[in-house]
Symmetry: C2
Subunit: 351 residues, 2 copies
């Protein structure tokens, strides 16, 4: 049995702490003899409003020592005009992804039995919708390059620079091919190389070159615009999708929507080289409108714990969490309202 | 009655010439006493393969004299490895959009009665899905700024630069607000200002400032990732959507998918100041796999002719084309197969 593992917990804002509590409950229940030590970190909009601090260096250094990080959600209420746009996203969430080199942003999409989807039966009936998006997490338009000149004047110019390196693209493409070999051996590159000829050319060449090392994996390419069409009309065609940071952001929200909504969408910000802790979080945000009412669905966070367990080498426990979630979902009936803790309790009891 | 108007016709590749022929047939039928002179231009992959020319300056100069341009689709068969990626997109299609200052890329999305959508009935039944995306057409990541260094080496870097100007953003936002006043007085800005803080800040500030001039228009903001969710789960919420070039590209394909597919999606590349001819084209591509079989659906092109008529001041004729299309669609039955010309003939007879 492994030693105890240290988890850094960032509940964050809004429903973040509520759903994280249920995630940890399930983690505890499935852990058995395996020990997790948790340390809570107070970060997010509320902390900033109180102290003016987003992510002190000392906290970043402490987080770096954890075996993994659990994040709820960060973000102020939409009306909170005191929080500048991007402050928490760039200063906290993306800072962690970049500082800890989370180059694989893993987002599984599975249409579980019994889950209502906005798609017509003709699109989904009898088909298995089960794919995973491997979104690059450390480059592209997310790197924060760009600027503004002559702000607020009629001559203002604002730029954003997408930076893509062979180093960054190759490692994530390779990770995606590896995952494809552990799944149904199919991989789709999503980009827009007919317009973004520089970045697209790089992605395409590297994709094609790595593909030669995986002759058993079938490859496919879709422009990002066409990819959204297929996500709505034939999501069963996908197995592993690999794409850049921004395209990954966009298509994973759509992927979540067609497989039951972001209330179910889990994600891992993974550093496959284990040079820094990986971070697990639901795809959804802090949902300030329903915070404090105990009605947030913790399922996405609980599924993120399954990804965490898997990453920490506890594959059997990861599978048990996923199985318990699937069973819980199958038992849900339309219109039924269960509280956040009721769902957490039920899944914790079943793992 | 206006003088005859001169239309430049670029059929292009694949199914392009086939669908354009039907579009012109309907235009001729609805024109009545109004005269259109058409001049065909041979441009696209086939021309390039034959002559090595994409868009000679002399042709560009001639096109500039037209009253409007009708474009089918350009693009080689996927297997045609001799056509470099982006050559026709950047060198022809985008070159025309930029050279003729098509800053409004207009893409209406309407779920016509009887059209099959991939969305569940619960999403669409009893609701009117009828919105228009105003996509910026001359800036952003489409401007072709960026480059590659150390190509083909492990140290390769590829960049793409999104350029956004107050000048460019304000004119398209203003156009979108004007359209909202002629529709249901609702407008949604789609961007990603929490990550793309420079460009997003510019878009947001200009949007909010123009909004003060339109107190009767309700404004809304969505991050692009969230926008894809709503397009799949509640498309009826949209009226006018205004967004940048790349986001517009992505969400209009999804919008087309949920309202019946790109076989029905029309578009106008519009220069509202009329300093250069506007260009009308279906959203779909050259579909080389079905070219030459006479089975391509010309509906998107015919609807684009409605946009063209409207732009040229023939609003009544534009409405007649749209009405004839709606009636034709309502009469279609599942599994029915009509040829390209049958559909064109039927609509031409009905206008
Ligand atoms: C909150 C935001 C910065 C973030 C992103 O864009 O990556 C979110 O949308 C996500 O997908 O995790
Ligand atoms: C072909 C391509 C350059 C074009 C675009 O990206 O604008 C197309 O996708 C469109 O939407 O008209």
């Amino acid at each position: 049995m492994a030693d105890a593992q240290n988890l850094a917990i960032i509940g964050g804002d809004g429903i973040g702490p509520e759903v994280v509590a249920e995630g940890l409950k399930v983690l505890e229940a499935v852990a058995g003899a395996h020990r997790f030590n948790t340390t809570a970190y107070d970060l997010g909009a509320t902390r900033w409003q109180r102290t003016g601090e987003v992510l002190p260096d000392s906290v970043l250094a402490e987080l770096a020592q954890a075996d993994a990080i659990v994040l709820g959600a960060v973000g102020a209420a939409p009306g909170a005009t005191d929080v500048p746009s991007g402050l928490l996203e760039r200063g906290l969430l993306l800072k962690l992804r970049f500082a800890f080199d989370h180059y694989v942003n893993l987002r599984p999409s599975r249409l579980f039995p019994g889950v209502p989807t906005p798609l017509a039966e003709s699109v989904t009936a009898g088909k298995e919708v089960d794919f995973v998006v491997v979104r690059e997490g450390t480059e592209g338009l997310y790197c924060g390059n760009g600027g503004v000149v002559r702000q607020g004047t009629p001559a203002e110019i604002a730029t954003e620079v997408s930076v893509n390196t062979a180093y960054g693209v190759e490692r994530v493409v390779r990770d995606a091919f590896e995952r494809a070999t552990r799944r149904r051996n199919k991989i789709t590159l999503v980009h827009k190389h007919n317009v973004l000829v520089n970045a697209g050319g790089l992605w395409r060449r590297i994709f094609e070159s790595v593909a030669t090392e995986y002759p058993g994996v079938t490859t496919d390419y879709l422009h990002v615009d066409a990819a959204t069409i297929f996500l709505a009309t034939d999501p069963a065609r996908f197995d592993v999708v690999v794409t850049d940071n921004l395209f990954g952001d966009i298509i994973t929200d759509l992927a979540a929507a067609v497989t039951g909504g972001i209330g179910l969408a889990a994600s891992g910000n993974i550093n496959p080289d284990r040079t820094f802790p990986s971070m697990f979080e639901p795809v959804h945000g802090s949902a300030p409108d329903i915070a404090g009412q105990g009605i947030a669905d913790p399922t996405a966070t609980i599924l993120s714990m399954s990804l965490l367990l898997d990453h920490l080498g506890l594959a059997e426990e990861a599978a048990r969490v996923e199985k318990a979630v699937i069973a819980d979902i199958a038992g849900r009936t339309a219109g039924q309202r269960r509280s956040t803790t009721e769902i957490g309790d039920a899944i914790a009891a079943a793992v």
